[in-house]
């Protein structure tokens, strides 16, 4: 049976088609999920894609977090369903309190789009099993509010528990505390990532294909589960 990975479209989601493409290239079946629909249509995992849901006008992710589909996703995530939030999706996960911390305006105050080097710190999550710890990859990064912030004790706890999934290398593009590019929950099924692995899945259109690993990882996780 093919693994079904849902990709949510909120009003203002932009990278939903890209995430669906990445799911397909990884060998799974992408399933479009609509923000007003509580039904997850029997998906095995969910991607919350990048974009500017609801224009990001109040705070990024603050309005999407209350959409009907998120009620079910929050419920299922707590039961162990793999959920990957990319960029705006990461912001939604923080607003939903599935992940700690918050994402604030870049320290440069500018939107930034660049090819970003990352180090995978935790290769044990549902979304990073196909990488090795310490592996460096290059994927696009594009955000205006990507600066990860949290209290010192939260940061210390994240580090101590190995919940920093990826860190920026060479350049910290947005002023994120401790160069954090992505984190996971304690169970390792919910991952939030500011850079965009779904834009690094084809040699023709991406700087590398090193982003595909996030999507093949979850496939392996689900097949083995």
């Amino acid at each position: 049976m093919t693994t079904r990975v849902g990709v949510v479209t909120f009003p203002g989601s932009l990278d939903d088609r890209d995430a669906q493409r990445a799911v397909r290239l990884a060998g799974a079946e992408p399933v479009a999920l609509w923000h007003r629909d509580k039904d997850l249509h029997q998906v095995d995992a969910v991607v919350l894609p990048g974009g500017f849901s609801y224009g990001d006008y109040l705070r990024c992710g603050a309005i999407s977090r209350f959409s009907p589909v998120m009620e079910t996703i929050i419920e299922q995530a707590k039961l162990g369903m793999p959920v990957l939030g990319i960029c705006n999706g990461f912001q939604v996960l923080c607003e939903s309190h599935l992940l700690p911390g918050a994402l604030t305006r870049n320290d440069s105050l500018h939107f930034i789009c660049r090819d970003q080097k990352l180090r995978i710190e935790n290769a044990g999550t549902a979304w990073t099993r196909d990488y090795s710890a310490g592996q460096e990859i290059v994927v696009p990064l594009k955000n205006g509010e990507g600066r990860f912030v949290a209290d010192e004790h939260v940061l210390d706890a994240l580090e101590a528990e190995g919940r920093v999934v990826a860190r920026y290398v060479d350049v910290n593009p947005n002023g994120s505390y401790r160069d954090i590019a992505g984190i996971t929950n304690a169970a390792g099924n919910v991952v939030g990532l500011m850079p965009h692995p779904e834009h690094a899945v084809e040699p023709l259109t991406g700087p590398t294909t090193e982003g595909l690993g996030f999507f093949t990882s979850v496939l392996k996780q689900l097949v083995n589960a």
């Binding site: 009003p11 990278d15 500017f52 696009p140 084809e202 259109t205």
Partner: protein, 751 residues
Amino acid sequence: MTLDTVKNAEQTPDAAQPWAELGLKEDEYSRIREILGRRPTGAELAMYSVMWSEHCSYKSSKVHLKQFGEKAPENDAMLVGIGENAGVVDVGQGYAVTFKVESHNHPSYIEPYQGAATGIGGIVRDILAMGARPVAVMDPLRFGAADHPDTRRVLPGIVAGIGGYGNCLGLPNIGGEVVFDSCYQGNPLVNALCVGVMKHEDIHLAKASGPGNKVILYGARTGGDGIGGVSVLASETFDATGPAKRPAVQVGDPFQEKLLIECTLEIFKEDLVAGIQDLGGAGLSCATSELASAGTGGMRIELDTVPLRDNTLSPEEILMSESQERMCAIVEPGKVDRFLEICEKWDVIATVIGEVTDGERLEIFWHGEQVVDVPPRTVAHEGPTYQRPFARPSWQDALQADAPTAERLVRPTTGEGLKADLLKVASHPNQASKSWITDQYDRYVLGNTVLSVGEDSGMIRIDEETNLGVSVATDGNGRYTKLDPYTGAQLALAEAYRNVAAGGAKPLAVSDCLNFGSPEDPDVMWQFAEATRGLADACQVLGTPVTGGNVSLYNQTGEVAIHPTPVVAVLGVIDDVTRRTPIGFAEEGQLLYLLGDTADELGGSAWSQVVHQHLGGLPPKVDLERERLLGEILIAGSRDGMIDAAHDLSDGGLGQALVESCLKGGKGARVVVPEGQDPFVFLFSESAGRAVVSVPRSEELRFNDMCGARGLPATRIGVVDGDVLDVQGQFGVSLAELKDAHTGVIEALLA
């Protein structure tokens, strides 16, 4: 104040009306009275004044623009030509592509962020209204001197506005231009281009036919945005001394526009509209009169039904409002429910505001009383036409006589001198890396961007199965056009054409944005006449018809006009995007060939500007047959795997092209000055019809045979090698030094 109804207008023929304040000339006002057989109502006057403004009616330019139709080359690819929201071109496999470049110059000077943002919004709706999914944007920009304080105000706002709006719409920004010149000090140029893709059967037109069909207004509510903006913002010169005119600025809401795009595409998919038009300049006045005029003529609108953001708006203001993110659709009665349902799904407000009638009048009602009763063609399509006087400026001869000869402008004669000038040119803001700007734009979204920033053209894949793609390049050189408007406009086309071909795509069609000073100045009008004539002639030779575009006049402060700046966009098609040719030299050992002929042509060049602050002489000569041949070689070389990198030669000549290709690919080059060639001319001349290509050794013979057989001069000038750009016997400069000169320049100016 009582409502100025049609009845009231009939009864009070002598009431004074503010036609002059609305920008109408006395004879124009008389003509309106003649058309209507009475004085216009306030609402009618508002409609005529805004639709007859320069911006909407092209009254000064259309006698010249008609050459684009008269001289249009035979082209099987044209599906929709000039006159619609945007032209449409067949690119094969059942796909059609629409594209257009437009200006938003004056609004962007007044409020840089919102002006630039709403410029993107407007062009994207134009493309959407044709039935296409917008897939990419591009921005040709012109600013005043890079180190001028006002540039520091205007540039960051414009860039943030383009990024803020385009990024939020999810459209990749795949290229454009940034040029600094003090002539744009009080008149920055913000041009915006959008490309859209659809299937042939999805093409939609802006016309209202079928009596009984409903008129639906959908999108944002109507507020007091930019009332009178069209006539005031777009058609009047900034007066340096008078009080600042600050009409209500339009504010863009990209989130609303994103919903509008998805909602509209879903509506198209279910074939629910008979005609559609976006609301841009002149708002409802424009949309209703154009739809009715292009259809059967009759339309009845109940203005009370328009959803308002501000309940105090008068009917005149509702008609004039330029609130953004609105569209107007003509829908058969049986399809209205489904139309409204899709709008509800996307949280888009949609309202039936009227219907198509079997008459020939556009009739608008307010609280049951008729406020407009006009023949729509007289508003939308039969506005005034001016034969503005034009004459070759008295200073033109002296400007052209001031040629940048070796006697007048000192040229470097030593290796050290050449190196110093190369670095000066590469580190000037016009030639330096624009990454500070382009890094603020999303180039990855949608996942189909094949070529983008720093390349000769932007390229987008449009079919993931077949790898069919399109590419676009925009170019325009105000310095060349100032020296010779006819040739300058042709050079703009030639460069954009060459850039598209260098990427491996076949040039198909043209859109242009003609930015000039005041048409009331015969000098400017001559520049305009010459540039349009040059462009139309060149399009005919190259076989690339003009499909649409925009004219922006009155770009001047006081008596001083900007350099005439026709910006030309060329669209090309490529059957297999995996064959595209980037500019970067990436493979060591590959051979570098210079294609075309190099002459001593420095008039209007980057070198003369950067090193000598000089503008004079004649621009490079144009040989369009040569451009076509060069294009064919570049396309064939790309398709057949004979070329791995190609870069067109333009601003800064071969020297600048080598700098960019070396830095992009991260490899150096060893270059030899050909026998008998002056090293300075070799490196800095801007002769047209040239490109530098990188050829794998295994392909050298085949490539040479092709060029020889076709008669294109191809000179082997070196090899990709090491980490130094080494011009043998002259100088060497390391990639690190080049990078240092080429990057960080814009940041430093704005810091």
